[in-house]
Amino acid sequence: MFHVKHRDTDVIVVGGGHAGAEAAHAAARRGARVVLVTFRRDGIGVMSCNPAIGGLGKGHLVREIDALDGVMGRVADRAGIQFRLLNRRKGPAVQGPRAQADREIYRTAMGAEIAARPEITVVEGEVTDFLMRGDRVEGVKLSDGAAISAKATVLTTGTFLRGVIHIGDTSRPGGRIGDRPSVRLADRIDGFGLPFGRLKTGTPPRLRSGSINWGVLEDQPGDDRPTLFSFLSKGVSAKQISCGITHTNEQTHKIIRENLARSAMYGGQIDGVGPRYCPSIEDKVVRFADKVSHQIFLEPEGLTSDLVYPNGISTSLPEDVQWAYVQSIRGLERAEIAQPGYAIEYDYVDPRALTHQLCLKDIAGLYFAGQINGTTGYEEAAAQGLVAGLNAAGDALGLAAAHFGRENSYIGVMIDDLVTRGVTEPYRMFTSRAEFRLSLRADNADQRLTPVGIDIGCVGTMRQDVFAAKMSALSSGRQRLDSIWISAPEAANAGIRIAEDGTKRSGTDLLSFADVEFADIAGLRPAIADISEEIQDQLKRDALYANYIERQRRDVEALRKDEAHPLPLDFDFDGLSGLSNELRQKLKKTRPATLGQAGRVEGMTPAALTLILARLRQRERRHV
């Protein structure tokens, strides 16, 4: 009789940050038993940087996570204390929901979400080693000597891998203020021979709210009608507040310039590469010397917290200089620094070592998600956690892989960017990274992804019901619009100008004009006015880009065609004559999974792609 080895659990998730929490929850939704190992149970869901969720590109990611029944959107809605839809005046494709979050509510709510899943067991401890079976990771060892075996392990250790914190000329090892770095784990991972890189990021000093002269500052309130993250949320739950806005001035810049040599970043203590879109105040003053003032958003860290996060002045200057320049700013003349700003350097693994499922190509059973892959941001981390969690569960339970493509989601864009091109700075999502931006909107994330999630098996019945109801309302609304026919003269009566070419246009066609609103059509055909406002708005957003999306369909098809040519992991790029050496090295590093992915490797040429395709055909013929 064959003896099946007993395992302690299906999936282990190491780390309880945004990637870890989402990974554990996703794996549990797919039916896996999960052990979540973290230093401290109450550290699950801690926002270690700015107290905000969402934004442009990032808000899209949160909506997508939510469409797949993930937790971030729901938790952010519960913790949100100021909601703003960015780009409200621009088109819906580039509108991104954003919220200031109460740190404490966020952390508590996330902890509750995890605690509510019976499949998840939280273990407090430090992972120091892996249980190996050949080239496969089959569990972890903890610093207290305990071992936990599992079929798949997700590593979400953020900046903890050889993290070093810099404040001015002093530096010390640390993953984030108050925590220790995971040096032993980093050493263990070294043994895998993975390609590492070093990145840095910075934080601003935290200020005491009571010491700020709010009265003289500009107020930034939230939207009157908050746009929430989750398709399930009905309204805000926390009290809503405003943020403040102030600016640096020439005196601030003078103080910073005079002390540049004492900055860790300018003093030469830091080798890591920082993000260009989130420069330190030192960087801003040096690189944009002609700007006499920079904007600062004063973001309260919560309803009960006395801390304020001054967004826009991250720094690695010594503490005394931080005090001096902060107090040179209007409204902050008496501001007290509760915790100085610091820069942190950390190791990341070149994500080209990963598959689209975020599994290491050379070591089965080990998944990486979050900052360890060179990304930055809670949303990017959570989205990766989701993908890694779904796939680790699939791995453990023998289910199909969960795959996200550039044509269906920002999640797919991000993962493809990471595993194809690697990173040169901390990777952050932007809407401009998505070539199919007009169809990948925050407003239709559920239409795009909830069906995908249902297939994967990670969407609960409650969401399935809500989604089905919305889809049926949408499709009946669309049918009613399609059966309305309006002539040009009739449209003109309602102030809608269209070409008088004698043809009648359907309600949907009319709605595709940028300046035609649903109400204009309802004015001509009052019968459709009973369609709910939510559905009216969605019909308008779906119609607005219809013509462009039709044009893009060809590009999507071309992409799908290229993606349909799988490249084996052991594809012999050395044996392919006619490739430049540089390109060959890049291809060998990325090991693209499909012809389409090969086409996106940096520096790829059409000629080289043809060579690869020809070799692929040759192989196929031989195997027939």
């Binding site: 621009k90 088109g91 580039v94 944009f288 826009g312 300046d515 462009y548 040429t605 080289a608």
Partner: protein
């Protein structure tokens, strides 16, 4: 990567033949035949030996990659161009391990892959090899020099700047970026469009320079079309006779007019007829004449009506000046022929003057596609600048069209532009 070799000059007997070897083993392979000169790009006379036998005394040149035609290590043998010598040297090379005969176009393909040439330059090279007239040579040389690539690169960088400005207002709406980028974006698009427009206009002419201009000679039967063509050609190209309606097929004569390739077409005489075959010939003549770049319309008498309505640039002449004193030309006496050729040449040369560096249909299509995208973007910029995402989409389409000429787009280039221009990061 294989090392390849081939005869790089034309096949057959010649004074000198060039054999090129390219690839990592080029130098070592050449060394097995001779003592390869140490210095790059310095010709040296060497004996080529194989199996102890002297094959040839050759001029040997060595180019170390990447400073070579293919971008790889290259060695060239300049040998006497006899079939036997060429065969002997090629034979000796083919017996060297790791070397193989190049496939047609393979040197150029490697140059393309090693980014020594862009796609348009490869086309220019092909045109240069085919060039027969001076205007064709100059045009091919311009393309080969990479002028189209440089232009496209200039437009592209302007459009990337425009797209970056738009994207900055989208992705960094919350940051310190300029709110109204419309004036700069508008100016960038206008500038690129005006240059694109000129190139598109020139592209049609350039295509003519490549393929040849067509000048149709049309007129009633027996007006002397064929006699004129013969006089132009200086030979009996078309059968001429005194019987009207002799020329039923279209006869072509190629000429080089001030470097421009010109094909004169002799068409059937146009007259009402019951003859089925002649009717067919007349229809074809008129269709071909319409399609031609220029028409020389011949008249029997000054007050005759032309057989087809002349366009403003068409040339109308009265023939047979040897018979009628008021006529312009006589194909038989040669009177006025030089003047006619001058007029045709002036007209075509005037058109050729506006030619740019886009010379193929492929180029014209790409430029037109880019231009259309920019037109949409410009319209929207004027009417609804808040639809930044649609303007961005049109710009993206235009940039992609331009890049299909030489390269490809990359989002990182957009972000580079944004980050080097604005202080992002609140």
């Amino acid at each position: 990567m294989d090392t390849i070799f081939a005869l790089a000059s034309a096949r057959g007997k010649s004074g000198v033949a060039v054999i090129r070897i390219s690839g990592p083993k080029a130098t070592s392979a050449a060394s097995s035949l001779c003592d390869v000169p140490r210095q790059n790009r310095r010709a040296a006379l060497r004996k080529l030996r194989s199996n102890g036998e002297t094959l040839e005394v050759a001029l040997v040149l060595r180019f170390s990659g990447p400073e070579s035609f293919t971008g790889e290590d290259v060695v060239e043998f300049h040998i006497h161009g006899s079939m036997a010598t060429t065969a002997a040297v090629l034979g000796a090379l083919s017996s060297i391990d790791g070397l193989r005969l190049a496939e047609p176009g393979e040197f150029t393909r490697r140059a393309l892959e090693n980014e020594k040439l862009d796609l348009a330059q490869v086309e220019g090279l092909a045109d240069l090899i085919e060039a027969e007239t001076e205007a064709q040579r100059r045009q091919a040389q311009r393309v080969l020099s990479g002028a189209l690539g440089r232009l496209a690169e200039g437009w592209r960088s302007n459009l990337i700047r425009a797209a970056a400005l738009i994207e900055a207002t989208i992705d960094f709406a919350d940051e310190d970026v300029p709110v109204d980028v419309t004036p700069e974006v508008g100016a960038l698009i206008r500038e690129v469009r005006s240059e694109l427009g000129a190139e598109i206009k020139g592209a049609a002419v350039a295509e003519r320079i490549r393929e040849g201009f067509e000048v149709a000679i049309v007129g009633p039967p027996n007006v002397g079309k064929s006699t004129l063509l013969n006089a132009l050609a200086g030979r009996e190209a078309a059968i001429t006779s005194e019987i009207a309606g002799t020329t039923r097929d279209i006869i072509e004569v190629n000429m080089d007019l001030r470097g421009l390739p010109v094909t004169f077409l002799d068409t059937a005489g146009v007259r009402p007829t019951d003859d089925k075959i002649e009717t067919l010939g007349v229809e074809r003549a008129l269709a071909r004449a319409h399609a031609a770049d220029l028409r020389v319309i011949l008249l029997d008498k000054v007050d005759d009506a032309p057989v087809l309505a002349p366009l403003p640039e068409d040339i109308v002449v009265v023939t047979k000046s040897d018979l009628h004193p008021k006529a312009d030309i006589s194909a038989i006496s040669g009177e006025g022929i030089e003047g006619l050729i001058e007029r045709v040449t002036d007209e075509l040369a005037g058109r050729a003057a506006c030619v740019g560096v886009a010379v193929r249909e492929r180029h014209r299509t790409a430029l037109t596609r880019a231009n259309e995208g920019l037109e949409f973007a410009q319209d929207r910029l004027n009417t609804s600048p808040e639809h930044a995402e649609l303007i961005a989409e049109d710009l993206r389409g235009a940039i992609r069209a331009l890049e299909s000429l030489v390269g490809r787009i990359d989002i990182e280039h957009l972000l580079d532009e944004i980050f080097s221009s604005f202080c992002i990061g609140k």
